[in-house]
Structures are given as C-alpha cells and as structure tokens.
Symmetry: C2
Subunit: 206 residues, 2 copies
C-alpha cells in the first residue's frame, strides 16, 4: 500500500522522535490533502500516536501547520544557485517535478492545497516571504527584484496548480521539452532586470 505513513508498531518513549514523527506525518498529509482536508486524528494515527499528543506538542492544529510550513520552506533551494542558468534550471526542474508520473511532495503543493483557509494563507504568506523569497531574491537582482521574485514564484505555483492539482490534460500530457522551452523563455524575461520599458512609465501616460 504505502511505504511511509503506516502506524508504527511501537516506539520507545522519546519526545523528540515523536515530535518529529508527527511533523513528518503532518507534512505529507497537509501536502496531499491541504489544511482543511485532513484532521488531527488522521495525522496522529499515521504518526503512531493519539490525536491529543499533537496538541500537547504543537498547541493546536494551526500551530502544527505553522511548524510544518516552516520546516517545508526552510531548507528550500528552489533551483540551482547560479543566476546564469537559473531560467533553464528552474524550467527543467519544474517540468520534471510536475511530471504526471512523478508523485511529488513539494512545498508548492502544500501552498496550493492549503491556501483556501484564511489562517493557513496567512501562515503561508509569512513563511514564503521569510524563507523562499529571501533565498531567491539573492539571485534575482536589479530593479524591482522583489516583484520579479514574486512573479517567479507565481508562475511556478501556477504551473503546479494546473498540472498537478487541477490535472489539466494539455499540461499533463505535454512534451516536457516544449514546456521547458516556454517556461525558460518566461523565466528569462523575469531574470533580466527590465523588459525595456517602452510602455508608459509611472509619471504620465505616454
């Protein structure tokens, strides 16, 4: 059935280990079903404990989710760390991760499937701004780096949504090379500081 998530037979009493087990269980559950789509009993059961232990260690379901978001986004290296190949690497990685055969457990899925809940959305906003953007922004430099970074994330999230959450047929069955090419082109327009503003600048309409 499943390799992970089955109720462990027994565990030597260890607060740290138990906490981590709950955290791992919650990470996979929240990523697959979203904040509102999973209950604390389900999370606890797959961690081999009772539901109340979740509240003991994390205060509440919301507290657990906050910590899950934190650990999910903390070690995040969106793509490689070289700006010169950022567009190509990001496009290739995104296409590969969102491939139909690849059943992935990506932070973007956590984001997409939990964003409907207002509190979860707050936590996710805080988390993304605290972790991911700071990392990505170190590569995206130039004018409006924050906006371009956020747009970068937007495109990635959008592809994740349509391809894996909604399951759009055209995207799911698309030739990876074709997708990579278009995504790389779009990422390139974001990597460059400004796409030549011949459009009206801020002051006055041209």
């Amino acid at each position: 059935m499943s390799h992970d998530g089955e109720p462990t037979p027994r565990r030597r009493r260890d607060a740290g280990m138990t906490r981590e087990a709950i955290l791992r269980s919650a990470l996979t559950a929240f990523t697959r079903f979203g904040y509102d789509g999973v209950g604390v009993r389900e999370i606890a059961q797959k961690a081999g404990v009772t539901a109340m232990l979740v509240n003991r260690y994390f205060g509440s379901k919301e507290g657990l989710f906050a910590e899950v978001v934190d650990v999910a986004l903390a070690p995040r290296t969106v793509v490689g760390d070289d700006l010169s190949t950022l567009s190509r690497d990001a496009a290739a990685a995104l296409v590969a991760k969102t491939a139909p055969e690849a059943e992935s457990l990506d932070p973007f899925l956590l984001l997409l499937r939990s964003a409907a809940n207002p509190r979860a959305a707050e936590i996710l906003r805080e988390g993304t701004q605290r972790h991911v953007e700071r990392h990505l922004k170190s590569m995206v430099t130039g004018a409006h780096d924050a906006e371009r970074t956020a747009l970068f994330l937007s495109v990635i999230a959008g592809v994740w949504l349509m391809r894996k959450v909604i399951g759009n047929t055209a995207l799911a069955e698309a030739d990876p090379a074709v997708l990579s090419r278009h995504l790389e082109a779009m990422f390139q327009t974001l990597a460059e500081p400004a796409p030549d503003a011949r459009t009206a600048p801020t002051a006055g309409d041209g």
Copy 2:
C-alpha cells in the same frame, strides 16, 4: 441582517427564481471561501432558503458546485478578442483585477480556493477545459496551442494566488505598471508560436 418589518421578503414561490438565488449565493460563497470552506446551510441562508432546498434543486453540494463552476466559466471572456493586443490587454486586466483595493469575485478565485478538494478539482478541470480553454485557444494559434493556452492560464492563476489568496506583500504593493510590463512580456512569449526551438522536432506534428 435585516431588522425591518419584514425580516424575509418571502419571495413568491418560484422554482426558477429560487434556484437562481441559490446559485448566486453559492457562486459568491464558493469563490470567497472555497468548496470546503462553506456549508450548504450558509449558502441556503444567504439565499433566503432552507438547506434542504439546495439538495432538492441540485442533488447535493457537489452537484451545486458543478453547476456553479459551469455558470462561472461559461460566459468567460478572459480578455479581449483581438490577438494583436492580447498580451497587453491580458496583463493590464489581470493587474487591475488583482489590485488590493479591488475585491473581486473572479472565477480564478473559485478555482484556487476549491482546488484542494479532489472532487472539486475534477469538476474544475472539466470546466476549465470545456469553457475557458476553448475560448482562449481560438486566439492562441500555432504549434502547441493547447500547451501554450494552458500555460497562459497557469500564469494568470499563479498571479491571482500570490497576489490575492496568499496576499504576498511584494505583489500586493507593487507598482501596477511594473507588473503589467513583466506580465505582458511573459504573455508575449506565449502568444508567439515558438520561442526559437533549438530542440529538433523529433516527432513533428503541425
């Protein structure tokens, strides 16, 4: 709500009108809170009706959602109908609709906030492929038109997500002109048939 003389205007018994009232109430509720974030009682109450009438007219909550998706996506004109100005118009419209001050009730919000539920995701996939893509694809022509159309929608959905659902600060507070410029550039890469394929067309179609 209304503490007037007549608390409930008590609409004259009309199946069509009642059905439509439920449908409208459901559309706004699902768009604002998502499929799992709203109950049939709440929808019914804002329509001035009992919860059971929802099931009578739509079979179930799922059936109601399916019809909501249908009416939300049916008259959809994503942008203008001119391909030459598609990129610019789409970018401008997207930035305007997702502005922080504009509290909009857009089908993309319905999509984003209900996608976590598997059944809702199915319905949304079917709906988007049936309505929106067919319309957009009539403008996006050339090789891989389906993939490019889907990527188009992905970018739009991603911006909606980050800007209005997550509430990313950089995007929310961004200069509309800056966003429009970058989005227009990205849309342009999708409007053009192919961004110079260095990959050999192994399985040449088209």
